[in-house]
Subunit: 223 residues, 2 copies
DNA sequence: GTTACCAAAATTGGCGCCAATTTAGGATAC
DNA sequence: GTATCCTAAATTGGCGCCAATTTTGGTAAC
């Protein structure tokens, strides 16, 4: 039982086509509205027709692309209303467990979060769009994981993907990205200070991307 | 608005195989742990191999069945921990919008809810397991819809399915079903009385299936 | 010049076959 | 009598072909 077979990525292909397409949608390589022709994808990702169709079917189940019978699949255009509703759901879920996150936070987990926040900062400059996006995901996953509900982490990850092209369009300005980075550190500060109310406010402002994340006293004390 | 066109099932086949399998899992025809052999499903639902495989792939994406490479698919066994976590998420989401539901409730929507609650009561006696299950779903959909967030309705529907075999096992006793029915009416009462706190308590007790749904004064007043 | 119709090219989508892997049963050796 | 190995049956899963539908471009008629 040498246990070596699970991580033998041949060269680059190994990964599922679904993830490849998903990444290209999330990073904006395939913008909203694009028609995803099966032949093009076949050549682009060097895979077979059934693989392409499985990927498209999965993505349409996730509501990332829309399927029009006998016409094909195109990248979903998230309208304003739906995006708003998804934000509302995220705010409800992530603020609801703020007290649990504070409760379960340990010095080790806080250190891990600081590391992830710093990794996000680094990727702002040095990383690709995808690496940056994934660094953000990793931070929020770790933060949510503190609530102790692994299923919740999955649900939030799923609904977060539904805003799809949002990351690219929302992060186009450097100012916006830098504020996101600062907010990450402020959230950790609030967590360390056990300031539940402040943490909730920060999470809501971070998701809504509104500026009014007035830091509480305890959060300021940390800085 | 004759509203008749949506129910034109040609004979029985018309609908997607995925839904057929889903129903059989939810109603307990295919119990947790069952291995879903492709040939069997092919014959059972009178469809082709690719259709079966697409259905199985979709259901495994929804985490209703588990896929073991080169072994096949089997109905997922929802362990206690996961079921608990899913309940927690539902409680968070559905109680969080209780105030919105009260705010948006109109005499018409309340009347519609009463009708759906009564339909559930009727299906307890006269309906099949599936009809009963769907009557429950319809009631909760209509109730959640009051919050004005259609995306939320979808998300809750999705995560509700993840408890899969739960409906059958939880509703095996008549006492349990009857209490569910009563709780439906109590929720409408609380809604009509604009008793947000009472509604939240009822929703939580209903989801958790705990007995302590002590009715508030305003809810009692209605009865 | 514009519109309508027809035909050809392209694209989607259904279906079945065959290779690879696994499982079960039987036979043989200990 | 039991355990192990080998063979055969069954099941999964990858792949390609062909029919059905749509789109586009051209032509002809008004």
């Amino acid at each position: 039982m040498t246990q070596m077979q699970s991580v033998t990525y041949t060269s680059a292909k190994e990964r599922d086509v679904t993830d490849l397409v998903l990444e290209d949608i999330l990073t904006g390589v395939l913008p909203a509205g694009t028609w995803l022709k099966q032949i093009d994808l076949e050549k682009r990702y060097d895979c077979t027709r059934p693989e392409v169709r499985r990927a498209l079917d999965r993505l349409s189940q996730k509501r990332l692309v829309e399927h029009v019978p006998n016409r094909g699949y195109h990248v979903y255009q998230p309208e304003g209303r739906r995006a708003q509703e998804i934000s509302d759901i995220r705010v409800i879920l992530e603020t609801a467990v703020a007290d649990l996150m504070v409760e379960n936070a340990t010095p080790e987990s806080i250190a891990r979060l600081r590391q992830l926040a710093q990794h996000f900062d680094r990727m702002t400059m040095e990383g690709t769009v995808l690496e940056h996006y994934e660094a953000n995901l990793a931070f929020h996953r770790e933060l949510l994981l503190l609530a102790g509900n692994t299923e919740l982490v999955e649900v939030v990850s799923e609904i977060r993907q539904r805003t799809s092209s949002a990351p690219v369009s929302q992060w186009r300005t450097r100012a916006r990205v830098e504020r996101s980075a600062r907010e990450h550190h402020m959230m950790i500060d609030a967590l360390e200070a056990r300031d539940v109310a402040g943490l909730k406010r920060l999470i809501e402002a971070h998701i809504r991307q509104t500026g009014d994340a007035a830091p509480t006293e305890s959060a300021v004390r940390q800085a």
